[in-house]
Symmetry: C2
Subunit: 415 residues, 2 copies
């Protein structure tokens, strides 16, 4: 009779120590990651803190940093990647491209200043610290790219997605990503010692062209084509199936052209924003709810605090963290100052999280053999810590602003 | 300007030949598997055939058997496993445990006869074919386990889940799975040459105890506990998060005790059937819609027709296929004869698909080194072919019976 009532903790150690290939069985890995993320999110909500911080900390807790139950692996990494794709897809569904285009100029200024300042500051600090020129450039590059997923999740949960500042953040994050791609392309070719201007130029042209064309003409095209295709389809949930195909296709195209897959996912959502029905929103929301904890916990999973045991590394980490926060806040805030001080602060804070994008840059540097392990640890710490610090600041920055979409609020909040 | 309009087929070969570790990038792999499954499903619906057959064939088409674009890998395998878990979870949500218990006796008879006949027939044929005793026993075992996912998907899509015969099929499939576990446990220990009766007995007791207890008392327990827990939770979509945790926990417990994870998933759904709200159903339905094509295409992905090039292997495959279909049909049909001829036929046909379960048994045999590669190929062919043959037969068997749940029909059919 003890089968169903056997408490999980008694089983745990034995099962977790199982010598099976990937460590945990699939359902157990799902339970540990998803369950711990939701548990800590609940705890943080009760402490009146953003639940998202709890989900990232859950990854640190179950990961190598503390308990060591779960190690980053390919499957969890893929779920995390899917999770952030669905998150940006969902966000795109709420955003009209015309509104995004309307804030284009401000967003461009926000993005450019928010790229220049962190890059220069990161580069300067590393040089002053006595690290190599190449490492300094890579750290500067890793400090460039905003991880919009964190901010998007907070704004969606609080019902601020359609506020003016949210529009600027989203548009600036897309431009920021394209700029980040170009900086990375230049930096990589400098590090390799061979700069091919023609290749760089065509990369830039393709990336900018793709993003602009899909952002500008995606929505009207889908609005015109979708109904005609749909009325001919016989399958169940055909609209959802088509939406998924568009999501995967644009994500792949974006990644293929060098922009992040999540930019493609966001553009796919935005292209569908005027034609997707309630049903598509609900179904994709289900996938998002399941997978986003894997993205969030996945960020925490990558932090290895042993790298920070050396006092000098820890000090550099803290300096870089402060620099990363201040430079984005000031750079992006300055860019948005024309919208008033309140929105400038919101945009500045909203662009602070670096998350997975900074880690990818650091991994490229590590893979090319131009970045030391301790500098890699510094970048990962900066990436994780900015995602932890931003949500509470963001909630504070938006306090006082009435939620822009009560209806969306309802969708996101009710069980 | 050719960026967005660049036709995928032009890119395809180059990208697909990319020497990257897993072959395809994540979004492209998702697009190829999901897109091709949905495309062939649409094609089959137009030909008035079950879409599910198209999805399985899509796996054969893109897999090693034909185009070779995608190879089975750990990530796709995990998505497939999740897919069939969510499928059974969704089916469980539609089923009341009291109704399942009501057909318990018939289901037990159906399961026992549907296990005995295929086992004896598979064993006999292999011995007559001159294969070894151990291989004969393993093929018999692989012919035992019904893959209820295929039948459940067809019945759900056509709105027959709450018919009497569907109840018997589901209950019998659960019992069938437990019996299959016991047969496999006995066969494995015989093959290893060491039979530990005590271990076998405790395996049996735990598996039966777990299944029976959760099936019988899961629903009332959840109905009593869930509202109290929910009113204390503050997180967004807390009900969905709780449902997911129950799903993963019971799937893991089931797998841990040796029963298939999908039995746990089905029991989790059933336990929630009386307390899960519409929102939980919609959200989990979204995950199901996304992942089920990976389960279906994954079945086709495993077929390697090169193994069937030898005429003698091909002949054995066809003989085993016919034996697998007839023995389940006759065995299960006899067991359900008390319900009338119509339901007996429906139950008999519904239990025919073997799918992934038979393949797992064959892989165990292969892993233990007691089964030759050609016999493995025969079993995989039997497993895939029974899933392809069953859906059209099932649609025929249910023709004339009015759909039992128009409301469910609507949920599954409307876009």
């Amino acid at each position: 009779m003890h089968v169903t009532s056997a408490p999980a903790p008694v089983f745990f150690p034995a099962v977790l120590m199982a010598p099976a290939g990937e460590g945990l069985s699939l359902p157990l890995a799902m339970l540990v990651v998803f369950g711990s993320a939701k548990l800590l999110a609940e705890l943080f909500e009760r402490l009146r803190q953003p639940g998202i911080v709890g989900e990232i900390l859950a990854g640190m807790l179950i990961g190598p940093a503390v308990l060591g139950w779960i190690r980053p692996n390919q499957f969890l990494g893929s779920l995390a990647e899917l999770g952030v794709m669905f998150l940006l897809f969902r966000v795109g569904l709420e955003v009209k491209s015309s509104e995004l285009m309307g804030v284009g100029r401000t967003a461009l200024l926000v993005a450019v200043l928010g790229v220049a300042l962190p890059f220069v500051l990161g580069w300067g600090i590393l040089l002053a610290w006595g690290e190599s020129q190449v490492e300094a450039i890579f750290v500067g590059t890793a400090m460039v790219a905003t991880s919009v997923g964190i901010t998007a999740q907070v704004l969606a949960a609080k019902g601020y997605l359609s506020s003016q500042s949210a529009k600027i953040i989203l548009a600036a994050a897309v431009i920021d990503d394209v700029l980040g791609l170009l900086v990375l392309a230049v930096v990589s070719s400098v590090a390799r010692g061979q700069v091919n201007l023609l290749a760089l130029g065509s990369t830039a042209l393709l990336a900018i062209g793709f993003t602009f064309i899909v952002a500008k003409w995606g929505t009207p095209t889908v609005r015109r084509v979708a109904p005609r295709v749909q009325e001919r389809l016989r399958g169940r949930e055909a609209q959802f199936a088509m939406a998924m195909c568009l999501l995967f296709a644009l994500s792949w195209l974006a990644a293929y052209l060098g922009v992040a897959a999540i930019v493609g996912a966001f553009l796919a959502g935005m292209a569908l924003s005027e034609s997707a029905g309630r049903r598509v929103q609900d179904l994709s929301h289900g996938v998002t709810e399941l997978l986003v904890p894997f993205f969030l916990a996945g960020i925490g999973l990558h932090l290895d605090i042993r790298a920070l045991a050396q006092p000098s590394v820890l000090l550099l980490s803290l300096v870089i963290l402060v620099a990363a926060m201040l430079s984005k806040f000031v750079g992006c805030g300055l860019g948005a100052l024309g919208m008033g001080r309140g929105d400038a602060v919101r945009v500045g804070v909203g662009m602070v999280p670096r998350g997975e994008v900074g880690m990818v840059v650091a991994q490229i540097g590590l893979g090319m053999g131009v970045m030391g392990a301790h500098v890699y640890g510094v970048v990962v710490f900066m990436a994780v810590a900015t995602t932890l610090v931003a949500p509470p600041l963001l909630v504070m920055a938006y306090r006082g602003l009435p939620p822009a979409e009560p209806l969306e609020e309802e969708v996101f909040h009710l069980g």
